[in-house]
Symmetry: C2
Subunit: 252 residues, 2 copies
């Protein structure tokens, strides 16, 4: 029998750990309050059992693009920029870099990752490789599906969640040539940064620079900080500013 | 700098060809006539540009589970059987076997693949490996998005499309230990088989045996008949009998 290289490579790949990085979604899963109610309707029966023509069950699925673990395209924040159809499947597999700010976030829930945090990572694990997806581990995913806990809403209605700083994003994109960033929180910006700028300025920076981001990730504490590979996949729907994504890592 | 095995493996994988096997979907994409009209509503704006709170665009997406290139779970045809949530990401990557019946289908558009066709493949390329996704190449994907052409509707309203026979499915699942089957056509069964049985008997066989199938595939003429790897991915939505899938092959 012929020896097929890729079939052998698949066997080798299966020996690693495959870690699900997406939340499981159902009709109770939360979404941003700016989106109208009724925007989620999953598994609605449109062809039921018991029809003489064909015995089977067919459903429809409705959800916002920014639902659960999702990918955002540049056109989400910048009119006219790239949408879902621009990306091929091989644009959506990356070396995964996981920066751990879970301890800092425990002390200060508005913590914004610093350039120093990233340099400390690089001193330990080596430089962020070209084309990486750089993800922030905050352990915030453990708060899913409690939207108030994820936002860190306090008695005054202010949000308190950790996230990115503009300087850290500039570092990963300009000094290193990252392709995408990710986080377990709802927003790119730490609440402190968003409040100071009066906008989601970090998210706008990412998308205005034609980079991609993956939000509301899960399980970043279960992968190696360096050396894992991450795959981001979404149904091949055109014209989307964002879509729920299936995201997983292959890791040692 | 540390030498990360999986980061190097990713660089190697990128040297192969990555072939998109899913159709691109929009509001004009067809779906089965048994599904009520209005079941597709993609990229509907629910948060528009120009709001003072946040300058961005958010949409909703609605579609049937069996829309475009899609995966079917056993619960689609058999009440109580497994649905979308049963499968992990590492259950959805397979050695890809492509059986070419495009010449036979050109002569007879109701052609059903035979056990002999599959044995002829095996004589040339070696036995179907354990856990394979076995896909039928018919070149039928070139008819997308013309639903009538895909069904092969004739003057009498009868369907004429190639597909599987029960014997061929029994061979790949019982004699070989395949995990899934796929095809470029709308249905598993060739029109001749479906008519004879008065049911989609082949599809029912696959799903009743807890196997998976991927329908309305594209581009099977662009991958190697043996030695490629195929990835099938869908958003992590619970309770689905089927979902549009992003499917791609990595091939020499």
């Amino acid at each position: 029998m012929a020896d097929y290289k890729l079939w052998n490579a698949l066997k080798d790949a299966k020996k690693y750990r495959w870690v699900e990085l997406s939340h499981s979604l159902n009709n109770e899963s939360p979404y941003w309050s700016g989106i109208p109610e009724g925007s989620v309707e999953l598994a609605k029966t449109v062809w039921d059992w018991g029809k003489p023509e064909l015995e089977c069950l067919i459903q429809t699925f409705k959800f916002p693009g920014q639902f659960g673990t999702h990918i955002d395209f540049p056109g989400h924040f910048i009119k006219g920029k790239a949408l879902s159809e621009k990306y091929d499947v091989n644009d959506l597999i990356f070396p995964l870099v996981v920066i751990d700010i879970s301890q800092q976030a425990k002390k200060d829930p508005r913590y914004a990752v610093t350039v120093e945090d990233i340099k400390a990572y690089e001193a330990k694990y080596g430089p962020i490789p070209d084309g990486a997806l750089v993800a922030l581990r905050s352990d915030w995913y453990k708060k899913w599906p409690d939207m108030d806990a994820l936002s860190g809403i306090d008695a005054e209605g202010k949000e308190n969640a950790p996230g990115w700083s503009l300087e850290a994003l500039e570092y990963i994109y300009k000094v290193r040539n990252a392709a995408a960033n990710g986080h377990e929180t709802l927003d790119t910006d730490s609440s402190a940064v968003a409040e100071e700028k009066g906008d989601l300025a970090c998210e706008r920076y990412v998308l205005d620079n034609d980079k991609l981001q993956v939000e509301v990730l899960a399980n970043l504490d279960k992968v190696q900080p360096a050396g894992a590979v991450v795959i981001v996949s979404y149904p091949r729907i055109e014209g989307a500013t964002g879509l729920p994504a299936r995201v997983w890592a292959i890791t040692e």
